[in-house]
């Protein structure tokens, strides 16, 4: 099994290669490559991130601890995204549809991922004791923090439903049209609320990992919001900058989860005789 540092380097290098590939293809107008190949390969980051993330989650007790649960849910979220992408690839490459069906079986992956990201965010907030800290917060901070979800929902609904027309939509479509942005707003709101706690992480070796995860939540929210914005405006293209945003979001989530990994195995950590050097 690869040790954590090597897993992180692998994910980072793969992300950089995929970002550079996108930039070069875009600069040289390789539209065929971006639309036919790139769209179907960058999900490999989510696949690797999800599998490696489950290994890291296990080091923290898996579903037996708050942090283990958070990392497990986020890793499964990444894997569900891959499932959604694979189902869409099946529609495009095997069934050869001209327009992707919506809703389709791909929603099991994509909407499932939103639910799992929300659960991951909730358990991350439990790990850093967000609720107890809210009780001790001053009135000013409480007011500011309560404005965050209102602002997030306002932005989301302006982007999503500015030109919303449910005529001809099925009940399942309407439910999903509302459920996606609400779910995404929830995990983005928790991420921003957790950011209020980040100063209390000073001195902790895992501060950087928490902040990277928060960044990944925000990137995921931006990617999804941009997707809907471009889709409604009719200018979404496969392999476009929207896919680059998704790649950045997957990379940040995968690297964020991986940043909680130990430099070596748990056994080696336990065998250390020097306090303070267990996790670096």
């Amino acid at each position: 099994m690869l040790v954590n540092r090597k897993r992180k380097i692998l994910l980072l290098m793969l992300s950089v290669v995929l970002i550079l590939t996108w930039l070069i293809s875009e600069a040289t107008n390789q539209d065929w490559f971006l639309q036919e190949v790139y769209t179907n390969i960058y999900g490999v980051i989510a696949l690797l991130g999800g599998v490696m993330g489950l290994v890291v989650a296990r080091q923290w007790g898996g579903f037996k601890s708050h942090l283990g649960k958070s990392l497990s849910f986020l890793s499964v979220g990444l894997l569900l995204t891959v499932l959604g992408q694979l189902i869409n690839a099946y529609y495009i490459l095997i069934v050869k549809v001209e327009e992707l069906p919506y809703p389709s079986f791909a929603e099991i992956g994509f909407f499932g991922a939103v639910i799992f990201y929300v659960l991951g965010a909730i358990y991350l907030s439990k790990t850093i004791r967000l609720i107890p800290s809210l009780k001790q917060m001053g009135a000013g901070k409480k007011i500011m923090l309560s404005l965050v979800p209102i602002l997030m929902l306002a932005i989301t609904f302006v982007v999503y439903f500015r030109n919303y027309d449910s005529d001809g939509s099925t009940t399942a479509q309407i439910i999903l049209d509302f459920a996606y942005p609400i779910g995404q707003s929830i995990f983005a709101t928790i991420a921003l609320a957790v950011l209020f706690r980040s100063k209390d992480l000073y001195g902790g070796k895992l501060r950087g990992a928490v902040i990277l995860l928060l960044l990944s939540f925000v990137l995921q929210y931006i990617s999804d919001t941009n997707f809907v914005y471009q889709d409604l405006a009719g200018n979404w293209v496969n392999g476009g900058y929207g896919d680059l945003l998704y790649l950045l979001a997957y990379s940040a989530t995968a690297l964020g989860v991986q940043s909680f990994g130990f430099p070596n195995t748990v056994q080696q950590v336990t065998s250390s005789v020097e306090p303070q050097k267990a996790i670096e």
Binding site: G61, H66, L67, R129, S133, R197, V269, A278
Partner: protein, 93 residues
């Protein structure tokens, strides 16, 4: 008196275990002067017990900073009330 500190240690490790899983026990075992028999949920303190508790809190602090200290304080809760302010480890005040 030393039993009170042992109870404090067990309470802290238990609470940390709900947050960070088995790493809580691994971290506690890195503290000099502290021995854990976690199957029996027992702790043995060999050196200055007050200082050992401080070292344990410091060990957790190295992971999540002040947030880890808050988890420790919350875990101790009622047990802390049984000690005088002088007996209470500085990290839990």
């Amino acid at each position: 008196m030393i039993e009170d500190y042992a109870k404090i240690v067990v309470a802290i490790v238990k609470e940390q275990e709900t947050v960070i899983g088995p790493v809580a026990i691994d971290q506690a075992r890195l503290v000099p002067g502290l021995t854990l028999d976690w199957e029996k949920k027992e702790a043995t303190l060999k050196q200055d017990p007050k200082q050992t508790v401080d070292k344990l809190v410091e060990q957790y602090k190295s992971l999540f900073g002040q947030i880890s200290v808050e988890v420790c304080k919350e875990a101790v809760g009622r047990l802390a009330g049984q000690l005088s302010p002088e007996q209470l480890p500085a990290s839990l005040r």
